[in-house]
């Protein structure tokens, strides 16, 4: 049996990109919008309960991983469907649930720096965006209102703003103050981070109650999740259909329909005038490649050959410091402060800009594990735990990554995931540009530890921040990009692609607020197109 759905607009994916788009379109008066979400609907209470019984430590492991919409699962290799083939390994994680991956995030919402939009022009590396910071700035303001962002209006973080953040900043923890005060003489500014966290009651959200669990789940709901826009969109009449996985987008010139399948096996065809692909940085290019046919042998929207290329993430390292004084990190939200001092400068012609984050996280479990592995036992153990937990703090530096066509994904049709979709081969590497950026992070953290008279316990190996970007990049030239500056596919005028997949260059800023700003900029363009203007 095949079910047919007809709508004006079909949105694929209900994460922040799809949910904000659907809500904005509905608020602009567009009617008959349907959102197809591969994964199930979840509740906050379910996830809180899962955390207390979950035996794994990945941010995703307490979320559903159903057969009909599997997510990457690095804890259980037999379940995983991404094969790393390059010299670097990136354990990308994302959720396939209604509301998307912003169920578990750090709520960090730094805007990009103006220079991030003209990287090639300014520093002769990477790529320029086909739009400027100034063009996006009003939409940053709107996105900050929509996501409910807190921040300090008086702090210059390098990204000029025409409106203050809608909420005051998160009060500094003892840990954040320690770094702020201790690093003044070192010339490093520790400033409040903008974050989609309610610091006053906001749009139905209570303010942060300090559950200290931003990842894997904000227990109070003070932190934004895309689910809030799902709910608001539904109130405006948007139909959000969960457990419906899109397997193929079909085009005959314009896109005509998508083929999907429900969890119970029912086939679904969804027809519409406009299609919005908002399926996450990894699933979006995967679906475009999966939609190859005789007319589009390289995949949909892929005349340029750029779909699946130029994958970027934010390579990062963390340093564990043992401070001379107790600061008890891990009380309150995790991402309160950081430094934007290293985001931009002439050095970017040589190495990555980067963001410094003071991690107000407790390392209780890891410290307990470590001390016991070192043979510390009762009656000494409790005091040793207290001492270490009160003074061990991590700093994290995440660097921008240049677009590199070799980094990206291809499909392995010979191997399928639990839903029968082709597995992903993912090639990933760091360039010298990023390696030098990481070296600068290490040098800076060493300098910081000396200044604070802290013991530098260790540096982690490089890891990535689960900010999958690129692989369907935006550009003015159809020969070298997938979508135009309004996120419209060059080859299919009724297909819009929204999400971090369209980023032509990564910057070092967490991508979510830029995704939301792009969605809010794109939605009026879709509304205009529907009206034939």
């Amino acid at each position: 049996m095949t079910e047919t759905i007809k709508a004006e607009v079909v949105v694929i994916g209900s994460g922040v990109a799809g949910a904000v788009t659907a809500w904005k379109l509905a608020s602009l008066g567009v009617r008959d919008i349907v959102v197809l979400e591969a994964g199930p609907r979840i509740t906050r209470a379910d996830i809180v309960r899962n955390v207390t019984t979950d035996a794994y430590f990945s941010p995703s492991s307490c979320y559903p991983n159903p057969d009909h919409a599997p997510r990457p699962d690095w804890e259980r290799p037999e379940n995983n469907f991404i094969e790393m083939t390059g010299p670097a390994v990136v354990h990308n994680e994302y959720l396939r649930v209604v509301g998307g991956t912003t169920w578990h995030w750090d709520s960090a919402t730094p805007r990009m720096h103006p220079a991030d939009f003209r990287l090639r022009s300014a520093y002769k590396v990477g790529a320029d965006w086909p739009l400027s910071y100034d063009e996006l700035e009003p939409f940053y303001c709107e996105a900050e209102r929509e996501l409910g962002v807190c921040g300090d209006p008086d702090t210059d973080d390098g990204s000029p703003r025409s409106q203050p953040p809608p909420m005051p900043p998160t009060p500094f923890s003892v840990c954040d103050r320690y770094f702020r005060d201790g690093l003044k003489e070192e010339g490093i500014s520790i400033i409040p981070r903008t974050a989609a966290r309610a610091t006053v009651p906001y749009m139905g959200r209570g303010r942060c109650e300090g559950f200290s669990s931003c990842t894997p789940i904000c227990a109070s709901g003070a932190q934004y999740t895309g689910y809030y826009h799902v709910e608001r969109a539904e109130k405006l009449g948007v139909r959000v259909i969960e457990n419906t996985r899109v397997d193929r987008i079909v085009a005959d010139g314009p896109v005509t329909h998508v083929e999907a399948q429900r969890a119970d096996g029912t086939k679904v065809i969804a027809k519409g005038r406009i299609f919005v692909l908002a399926a996450n940085g990894m699933e979006t290019p995967r679906l475009l490649l999966m939609s190859a046919d005789e007319s589009h042998p390289k995949g949909l929207a892929n005349a340029s050959g750029q779909v699946g290329r130029n994958f970027m993430d934010h390579p990062a390292i963390a340093a564990r410091l043992v401070l001379p004084d107790p600061v008890w990190p891990g009380r309150g939200p995790s991402g309160i402060s950081g430094s934007h001092d290293f985001r931009d400068g002439p050095f970017r012609s040589e190495h990555s800009g980067w963001l410094l984050r003071v991690k107000n996280n407790s390392h209780l479990h890891e410290i307990t594990d470590r001390l016991m592995s070192q043979g510390v036992e009762p009656p000494l153990l409790d005091a040793a735990i207290r001492d270490a937990v009160s003074r061990e703090v991590e700093l994290e530096g995440s660097v921008e990554q240049l677009p590199n066509p070799a980094n990206g994904i291809t499909l392995n049709w010979d191997k399928r995931d639990r839903a029968g979709q082709p597995c992903i081969r993912h090639y990933y590497s760091f360039s010298e540009y990023e390696e030098k950026g990481l070296a600068h992070v290490r040098e800076t953290f060493t300098r910081i530890s000396r200044r604070l008279k802290a013991k530098l316990l260790y540096f982690t190996d490089p890891f990535t921040e689960h900010h999958q970007m690129g692989m369907a990049v935006m550009g003015a030239n159809p020969a070298s990009s997938v979508v135009d500056p309004h996120c419209r596919a060059h080859a299919h005028k009724n297909l819009f692609i929204i999400g971090s997949a369209v980023f032509p260059a990564s910057s070092c800023s967490n991508p979510t607020i830029t995704i939301a700003a792009l969605a809010l900029r794109m939605a009026p363009e879709i509304a205009r197109q529907l009206k034939g203007k």
Partner: protein, 185 residues
């Protein structure tokens, strides 16, 4: 069955004697609240891997006399499910019994002190395994998937009680993170 009890006071005296007065202080405070209830029972007649002997063993190894019953039940189930579990419970119980008989006042350090109790390599590993499960609330070994035995009842949270809330269950309240825990008094 003869069962001997060691009081918290005896444990504290032992710690002070070992030069660990700083560690003993919290026990003194806790002891004042606990009104000198027996800290440890011990069955000298049987070393069978019974729930009671296992509970005594866990209390002895963790130096904690009010272990969570639910967690106890789960860890016991897991240990009894391991091919080496029952025999190791018996072996540890037997060796600790022998030492306690020699030293009835409990002057030995009442922890998983391998040398004091003559544990061999396997027994030392087992004691560490038990301790890890009690402290972290997680149990695993190479042959089975990880299991979460407990969340907030894990002893590591008790070690930081009053200073560090249990994530996701104990809200600090808005701004409650701006002062050191001691300053909140």
């Amino acid at each position: 069955m003869s069962t001997r009890s060691f009081t918290r006071r005896q444990v504290v005296k032992t710690l002070v004697a070992l030069g660990l007065g700083g560690i003993a202080a919290p026990l003194v405070r806790a002891g004042a609240q606990a009104a000198e209830k027996p800290a440890f029972r011990w069955n000298f007649d049987s070393h069978e891997p019974t729930p009671e002997n296992f509970a005594d063993l866990c209390a002895f190894i963790t130096l904690t006399d009010d272990l969570d019953p639910g967690m106890m039940k789960e860890i016991y189930r897991l240990m009894m499910d391991e091919p080496w579990g029952p025999s190791h419970i018996t072996r540890l119980h037997t060796k600790i019994s022998a030492e306690l008989k020699k030293d009835p006042a409990g002057k030995k350090r009442p922890a998983a002190d391998k040398q004091a109790f003559g544990f061999d390599e396997g027994e030392t590993w087992f004691a560490g395994h038990l301790l890890m499960a009690w402290y972290t609330g997680m149990y695993f070994n190479a042959s089975r998937p990880r299991v979460r035995v407990a969340y907030e009842k894990a002893l590591m949270y008790r070690a930081v009680e009053g200073r560090m809330p249990v994530p996701m269950l104990e809200p600090a309240g808005f701004g409650g993170w701006t002062k050191l825990p001691e300053e909140k008094e």
